[in-house]
């Protein structure tokens, strides 16, 4: 059996002079998977992401990268940074360089790759994110959606196996959210696993099959979204609501199971549950 890209076993972390931010966290993510991470603010999602990409070291438990247990060494930390990229919520926190080209090349340059390889990765990442024509632009002249794509290109240029995206739809308009979803689909098609932290359950339903739910520093659930949104007690505890199409279908036919999560599923569900026409009835 293939090893997952990343596996966390009994991981705990507490910030100085604070209660634990994550406790006894165990989960894994396999190649090509799309996972939604949900929960209230302060539930532990961001700390989980920082642990996954190596910016924080677990105080208890262990992290395995492609089946290999990582030690608290610089070399292992660098390997984790290289394999697991993180796209931060605020693009301005991430964008560092004064040109788009410089920004995307920052990661590959830090990997001490030959210049030709840095150039290739930069060109490829810009092309994948539709930013080729922006290569010489300055980041402050980009729109919000373009900045978001630039931050993804930053990480893509590192050629990671797993990308973590922290609230990628925050402050994006619907058109840019649609573009982002297309972008994420491209990444999945390229075989990259994606883990997205979000409060937008409709986006989570469109994006992922599997969901991780955090509450009070603990992982409450790790299961398929279709099952997860059927658990009222869990949703209440994590402060989550159900996706819009799920709610609509539930309102139309209460007490059923297997409600739709997305528009496509809802259309099929509505067609299957349409009341048969009765002859003579107006």
């Amino acid at each position: 059996m293939t090893e997952p890209i990343l596996r966390l076993e009994g991981v705990c972390y507490a910030y100085p002079d604070s209660p634990p931010a994550v406790e006894q966290l165990s989960c894994s993510i396999a190649a090509g998977e799309r996972v939604a991470v949900m929960g209230r603010n302060g539930a532990g999602k961001s700390t989980f992401f920082l642990l996954c990409c190596g910016l924080l070291q677990p105080q208890e438990g262990a992290i395995y990268l492609h089946g290999r247990k990582l030690r608290h060494h610089k070399a292992d930390r660098l390997e984790l940074h290289r394999r697991v990229g993180v796209v931060f919520q605020e693009a301005e926190d991430q964008i560092l360089s004064v040109t788009v080209e410089g920004e995307v090349s920052f990661g590959p340059m830090n990997l001490n790759l030959p210049l030709a390889e840095v150039e290739r990765r930069t060109v490829d990442a810009l092309a994948a994110m539709g930013l080729t024509d922006y290569r010489q632009r300055q980041p402050q002249f980009l729109s919000g959606g373009e900045k978001k794509r630039l931050t993804i290109a930053d990480i893509l240029a590192m050629e990671p196996d797993l990308i973590l995206l922290d609230e990628p739809t925050a402050s994006l308009d619907p058109e840019n959210v649609a573009r982002l979803e297309e972008t994420l689909q491209k990444l999945t098609d390229a075989g990259i696993a994606l883990m997205v932290s979000t409060h937008d359950v409709d986006f989570a339903a469109r994006f992922a099959r599997r969901g991780l739910v955090f509450s009070h520093s603990r992982l409450l659930a790790d299961e398929p979204l279709a099952e997860l949104f059927g658990r009222d007690d869990l949703l209440r505890e994590a402060g989550l609501k159900k996706p819009s199409y799920y709610q609509a279908a539930e309102a139309m036919e209460p007490g059923q199971t297997g409600y739709p999560l997305t528009l496509a599923q809802f259309t099929r569900w509505a067609a299957a549950h349409k009341a048969p026409r009765t002859e003579g009835v107006r």
Partner: protein, 256 residues
Amino acid sequence: MAHAHSGGLAMLDTLAARSPLRGVSPALKLLFTLTVLFAAIAAAHWAAGLFVFLTMVLAMALPGRLAPGKILALFCAPLLFLVVGCAVVLVEWRPGGFAVTEASALAAGTLFLQALGAVSCLFFFSTTTPMPQLIEVLRRWKLPEVVIELMYLIYRYLFVLLTVQRQMTLSATARLGYRGFRRSVVTAGKVSGNLLAASFRRSRACYDAMEARCYDGRLAFLATVPPVRRRHVTLALLYLAVLAAVLVVCKEVLPG
């Protein structure tokens, strides 16, 4: 354009990013501008200053395609400073009161035009050269790495913090925070304090993002700058030759 209205620096930045002359080698432009600037100052002649001022404004307006209104707006602040500064030279204290003499008028006029010529050189360079190109040229000219890195970071975060400051000021204005002098001073102080806190938060987040991309203590980016072209070198040399001729003629013919 997020920062189009955030002041003079942002305006220069926007003009440079759109300038048709941004494709000319920044190294050539920097050398050319510095040469003309020092020539205008060293000549110590009003006609040299006037010639440099007129030709630089012409270069900004024609190949640089800058609207006259924009050029005028750029010169407003330095003109005000120059007028006040030269007025002090113009007026002499004589027994019996203040007076304007032929010598003081010539000295003030020369100073004014020299300074105007020098300022126009700087504006020509800054409205046609995006800052990233300048930083990259300085890196290639072997300026210390720490200075280059600081220039990169300061330039990048200047705009980020300008945006934050503008939002805070707007928010304070909407809540009548700038009503009256006393309240304005208090609000400005609070905005500055919050800006400091915001910049600390940004710097921590920025460092995390850098570390996540394997940052090891050295800022390294891929950068391309427009190459030096023979046509541009010829034009620059031609201009310098004309400037030299003007200087010689001025020294011989015109008082200065």
